[in-house]
């Protein structure tokens, strides 16, 4: 961020500064800091041993494994899609480009519950494909494939959304230069495109991953809450909480909160690297 000249006209007088600052900080403390602290407070309210035991629980470990599995499928898939969509939208003009852009934004406007619902309508017991699925003994709803699909739906915009403005701003001259120098599509992508978009891509993947691991509404609709089989971490938190195992619920929740904190820290780091990279490209 650029240093602002400390012009007197831009400085609020102290009788304005102080109340505004205090009000803002009080709001942040009440709505952001307190909940964050509370997660860890409740998680450790029965001591470290209970905390570790809650995480070592068989169902908790199954939930962690399933969540990681879902993220390991959804995040790479959405990363590939995000790169392809950003390349298509920023490097070519074709009819239907605007429509494609709005489709990419769609999940932001759709309630997670509806994201789950649409897959139930397709693959559920009374769904469109129910007869076919029953005949071939394939289970999607109340099973892992449904969870993966719902997670992919909710998280697919993140990488593309991050890359499109970045690649738009960078322009395509370096890629054109690579082509005139004889590079094929693959060499151009590895040697020129990927290094150029690296930090933005990392940023998008981080956001996509955070949301994939934490997704609740969509997954809750398609999962069926079968312990040890279709419970992801957020669903496991819900079950424990509803069974009045509050401390155990917060123990699992604290892992998710740690992930959120790591995401925020990485986001700051990547934002800083990106600013530095653009400064290096346009030296004063």
């Amino acid at each position: 961020m650029s240093a602002r000249p400390a012009s007197n006209a831009l400085r609020d007088p102290w009788w304005l500064r102080l109340p505004l600052l205090l009000l803002a900080l009080a709001f942040v403390a009440l709505f952001l800091v307190l909940p964050l602290v509370a997660v860890f407070g409740y998680a450790f309210e029965k001591g470290v041993d209970f905390y570790l035991a809650s995480l070592a629980d068989e169902d908790a470990r199954a939930a962690i494994r399933l969540t990681l599995l879902v993220a390991a499928i959804a995040v790479p898939a959405n990363t590939l899609f995000g790169i392809a969509a950003a390349w298509l939208i920023t490097r070519f003009s074709f009819p239907g480009r605007g429509l494609l852009l709005s489709l990419i934004d769609l999940p932001f406007a759709v309630s997670p519950v509806i994201a789950g619902l649409i897959y139930v309508l397709l693959f559920g017991a009374q769904g469109l494909f129910a007869p076919w699925l029953a005949a071939h003994d394939v289970k999607i709803i109340f099973a892992v494939p449904g969870i993966v699909l719902a997670t992919i739906f909710v998280t697919f915009p993140f990488v593309a959304r991050e890359l499109i403005p970045l690649m738009q701003a960078q322009g395509s001259e370096q890629e054109q230069a690579a082509i005139t120098l004889g590079a094929g599509g693959f060499a151009m992508f590895w040697r020129v495109v990927l290094p150029k978009i690296g930090w933005g891509l990392a940023y998008g993947v981080i956001l996509c991953n955070a949301r994939a691991i934490g997704e609740f509404g969509a997954v809750s609709v398609v999962s069926g809450h079968i312990r040890g089989l279709t419970n992801t971490m957020p669903l496991h938190v819900e079950i424990l909480y509803n069974e009045y195992q509050r401390t155990a619920a917060f123990a699992v929740a604290s892992l998710l909160a740690l992930l959120a904190l790591a995401t925020l820290a990485l986001k700051q780091l990547v934002g800083w690297r990106m600013r530095r990279a653009t400064q290096a490209e346009n030296p004063p």
Partner: protein, 278 residues
């Protein structure tokens, strides 16, 4: 041969294929299922479902609490943006990073934490109930959760505008003898309105569909504190797919109308600005 359809850069066919296949499978096919299901409902049946008293109450709670949460953030979002951009204080970078917490924190975690804090035996709930304010398990609790969830939208849409605000306008106002409050109210705030409204619309659309952070604190009493997304899952639990689809369509219409209004607003302000410049 007409060579026009060639592109200088490679990958058009490949990326187009990937995008069409992916979006077709992930988005278009399921949405077609939604359309198919709603088409199987007769108009009268559809109308009966979406105007049932319980459904109407759910819309009231959903839209009302989303609007209320948006209004709270309408005040605090721009305030936080102003403080973060213009004031220097220890911990500023930390607070700035923390603004995105509601984006990053899984909604279920936010939900149980807010519930634990605002329940009658929680540290905040105890104090508030001593003053006669019951938050958890009431629409008030829903509003608190939605304030949390939608806060980043308002801060993050106003912040960049403030960062790029030319200082000379404020300086000009000061040289014309305007006091600081007058300058803020009559010079700075008007330039922020488009960003504030667009942040409000995004926050509102998100709050309409919010589920995870709300259901724990809501209490989920039909007619009182049941939100529309919960009504959808309730109907799904009873295998009432048609009913769930009907409510989903109303909710979708609400989000799309909000975002459409936002687009129109942006079009309008862009027009007005460019007409002013000409």
């Amino acid at each position: 041969m007409r060579a026009k359809h060639r592109h200088a850069l490679p990958g058009f066919g490949l990326t187009l294929g990937v995008c069409l296949a992916y979006l077709g499978l992930i988005v278009l096919l399921p949405l077609a299922a939604l359309a198919w299901k709603s088409a199987s409902l007769g108009a009268a049946e559809f109308w009966a479902i979406v105007t049932a008293p319980r459904a109407l109450a759910a819309y009231r709670v959903t839209f009302g609490c989303a609007a209320l949460a948006g209004l709270v953030n309408l005040v605090f979002g721009p305030l936080l943006a102003w403080v973060l951009v213009r004031y220097r204080f220890p911990g500023r970078a930390f607070v700035d990073a923390l603004i995105d917490l509601p984006f990053a924190l899984p909604t279920a975690v936010a939900g149980i934490t807010l519930t634990a804090l605002y329940a009658s035996n929680g540290p905040l709930g105890r104090v508030l109930e001593a003053h006669g304010w019951k938050i958890a398990y009431t629409p008030g609790g829903i509003t608190v959760a939605l304030v949390f969830v939608s806060l980043p939208f308002l801060v993050r849409s106003v912040q960049p505008v403030l960062e790029h605000l030319e200082p000379d306008v404020e300086e000009a106002a000061a040289t014309l003898g305007a006091g600081r409050l007058t300058t803020l109210w009559r010079v700075v705030l008007p330039t922020l309105w488009p960003a504030i409204l667009s942040g409000f619309a995004l926050a509102f659309a998100r709050a309409l569909g919010e589920y995870g952070s709300v259901i724990f604190i809501a209490g989920n009493m039909p007619m009182v504190s049941e939100i529309a997304p919960l009504l959808i899952t309730a109907k799904l639990d009873q295998y009432d797919y048609a009913g769930a689809t009907a409510i989903a369509l109303v909710l979708l219409a609400g989000s799309f109308a909000t975002l459409l209004a936002l687009n129109l607003l942006q079009l309008f302000t862009v027009r007005r600005r460019s007409a002013g410049a000409a």
